[in-house]
Amino acid sequence: MEEYIGEHVLMRYGIYEVNPAKMKKWVKQQVMSEEFRRYIIRQRREYLRWMHELFAQKILKPPIKK
């Protein structure tokens, strides 16, 4: 499930993540089920979708160089 894609970056379930081991020294990390993680990620995406629907009336195209 975990795949390192750089020295300090890994990918889990399609999400980029800075290697959490680097923070262990400073913050006590907790037991967290993958389902809970996926639940949070899903809700965050839902929130972004909602914001976009509410506030983005149109999507601007990038400028085209002539």
């Binding site: 800075v18 990390q29 907790q30 967290m32 089920s33 389902e35 949070i40």
Partner: protein, 407 residues
């Protein structure tokens, strides 16, 4: 398995009037340092009171001040009563939920509020309404212990066995106060040809409140799990969102292990039956309906699709949907408590939050507000009666049963 939980060992530690564990203080400092206060905009209580000490940010700062010696815990007791435990703040906040980056920690606001209230009571400090709150919880315990509540009376003519691989499970609340809904759900399952049973003496599940009962709370968990195992349960259908949160989140948090069966919320289960063609709603129900997302389903459990799908599958209904993310901002005013804790602590505030929600439903042009939670149902009916608001409050299964011609 639907279980999703987090567990922080340091929340088990005993606090003092002038001391909280440093790990809690670090969590609190992280929130204090944020200052975006996204938790403020989404909080149903803040929308009414406009007081920043009533939001998640305020609670964390209060505990931080205790840990840094600026304040004593007992002086801050009343602050912690201003929480519905609806879960909106921790859902909305992109910072306290550090998951997805290298912190791998998350603040569970609802658990923190329960923990703080419980520690205040353990240390002998009273806060506004604490006596009444404990009285309400103890009354439920007393009624259960003395078997004063007849918890299977609702099913006496339905011929349901006390065993089965599929069990319809609810605690005292629905079994005594929302029996009409429970009977309709049982009849709908029967029409779909599902073989299911119930258990004889379910104990109260009380999400976020079992902590107040100490050992007795843990005993209730064990008894419920044992009874379900003994009945042969492999799938447990839960018709009450509060019970669902208990089984999927609170039981694992308090016991440290997941429950040994699948827990499915009833709308998910029945929507699957409709999808499979085992239930076909045929009779048109001509109503203009909007749907209220119960906090325990939408915010805490992430279930919002199946109730909408059920409503959309009923012919004749004009369904006016309000996005489930918009509804993070709403609550019926009852909060997470099965024992009506918030209503006891802040009756007027609870009423105002409920009335606001009813008015928002009327703003959509709907004449009927569909609910999927017996506690929301009860609260809305109280608010409707008190405010004389002209809106029809119906449970989703009352509407579905009408379409299936079940009475």
């Amino acid at each position: 398995m639907t279980t999703a939980y987090t567990y922080k060992p340091w929340l088990v530690e005993k606090w003092k009037d002038d001391w909280v564990p440093e790990e809690v203080a670090i969590d609190c400092y992280a929130t204090f340092a944020c200052r975006h206060k996204f938790c403020r905009e989404v909080c149903p209580v803040y929308q009414e009171t406009g007081n920043e000490s009533h939001i998640s940010y305020g609670f964390h700062v209060a505990l931080l001040s205790v840990s840094r010696g600026y304040e004593k815990l007992h002086n801050l007791g009343n602050t912690f009563t201003y929480c519905l435990q609806c879960g909106a703040c921790q859902l909305r906040c992109p910072n306290t939920l550090f998951t997805g980056d290298f912190y791998r920690i998350t603040n569970e606001h609802n658990v923190l509020v329960t923990k703080t209230r419980n520690e205040l009571l353990r240390l002998g400090f009273k806060f506004k309404g604490s006596d009444d709150m404990l009285k309400a919880i103890n009354q439920i315990v007393k009624d259960t212990e003395e078997a004063r509540l007849s918890l299977t009376e609702w099913a006496k003519d339905l011929d349901l066995p006390r065993y089965g691989e599929t069990i319809l499970f609810t605690d005292y609340f629905m079994a005594t106060q929302m029996t009409n809904i429970l009977r309709l759900i049982a009849k709908i399952l029967k029409v779909a040809g599902i073989k299911f049973g119930i258990i004889e003496n379910p104990k109260p599940t009380l999400p976020y409140e079992l902590d107040y009962l100490g050992e007795k709370g843990i005993q209730y968990i064990k008894e419920n799990i044992e009874a379900l195992k003994k009945a042969g349960a492999k799938t447990v259908i839960v018709p009450d969102p509060h019970v669902y949160v208990s089984l999927t989140k609170e039981y694992p948090r308090l016991t440290g292990s997941e429950v040994p069966f699948d827990v499915v919320f009833v709308t998910d289960y029945i929507w699957n039956l409709i999808k499979e063609g085992k239930l076909v709603p045929k009779k048109p129900v001509n109503k203009k309906v909007t749907y209220h997302d119960p906090c325990m389903l939408n915010k805490v459990s992430g279930i919002w699709e199946s109730p909408r799908n059920i409503l959309k599958s009923i012919p004749g209904i004009e369904f006016i949907d309000e996005d489930h993310v918009t509804q993070w901002y709403y609550c019926c005013g009852n909060g997470a408590s099965e024992a009506r804790t918030f209503k006891i602590l802040h009756e007027d505030l609870s009423y105002r939050i409920g009335l606001k929600r009813l008015n928002r439903a009327l703003d959509t042009g709907a004449k009927t507000l569909a609910v999927a939670c017996p506690h929301c149902n009860e609260q809305f009916n109280e608010v409707k009666l008190k405010s004389k608001t002209e809106i029809e409050i119906l449970d989703i299964f009352e509407i579905l049963a009408e379409s299936l011609e079940i009475r």
